[in-house]
Symmetry: C2
Subunit: 170 residues, 2 copies
Amino acid sequence: MTRMDLSQFDCSVARATEVIGERWTLLILRDALYGLTRFVDFQTDLGIARNILSNRLRQLVAHGVMTRQLYQEQPDRYEYLLTDKGRAFFPVLAALMHWGDTWAFDGEPPRSLVHHACGREGVQSVASCSNCGRELDAESVHIDPLPETIRHRVDEAVERWRRLSALPTK
Amino acid sequence: MTRMDLSQFDCSVARATEVIGERWTLLILRDALYGLTRFVDFQTDLGIARNILSNRLRQLVAHGVMTRQLYQEQPDRYEYLLTDKGRAFFPVLAALMHWGDTWAFDGEPPRSLVHHACGREGVQSVASCSNCGRELDAESVHIDPLPETIRHRVDEAVERWRRLSALPTK
């Protein structure tokens, strides 16, 4: 099946998905943000096939998220370093981790991020309004301009949020 | 090829990836957070095959991210509503959108989130220390406990961050 190319969609989420939406890519980025750079280390940590890892790294380089640099000659060996674009992905990963900590474990999650400066655990990830600074959730925002395909659903959506508010937790 | 099940990994990112890592799932969640609930609306907006959409929605329900509710009888029709777990995904999507806005477009992104209360555009997503409140990036945190496979790389990683700091933007 031909895959649809999301990279030209008029939507940041779609374009971001084109970059990080392949299986394993998020975990490669996680490892890179932990500090791993070498093929063999990614492979050891993730336990995935060489061809898959190789493909994902190549894609990340193609998307400008990582850069490939020679670190040893004869035999030539390369490492994969995050670019600014790759390092800027940290808040996404922190938000995903926060969500996973809250919803994917019963009880305490097994690992935490520790802030070097204060030595304490815990990262929170908050979306806020860049104008007034208040914390935002899905109910407090709308997308603008509305995609045509969604426009006719907007009024119903508002009503739906009200119903959602009355939904049980699970 | 058998897919590795990430849902039992000792890592929030891996477990979250098991839930949202399939192609289209992030875009379905995006649409749900915009307010869409009906199969036909998701399909119209995304333009994907019925069987793929059906599979992804079923997975989201299985993972407790959405709930399926009857909204019409004879013929029976169902809608898909976000649970608290699904609505809690908003900061991840906001962070992803923020990243896409910054890195996936030349110039202005085509759509923005608008805060109802103040009527202004712009969402920022920040990871901060839940102890001291300061903003965090990849260099200011480490994971604890360190996975065994990464332990021997930590000192090198610290050195690498220093080199990364000198890397060009792209």
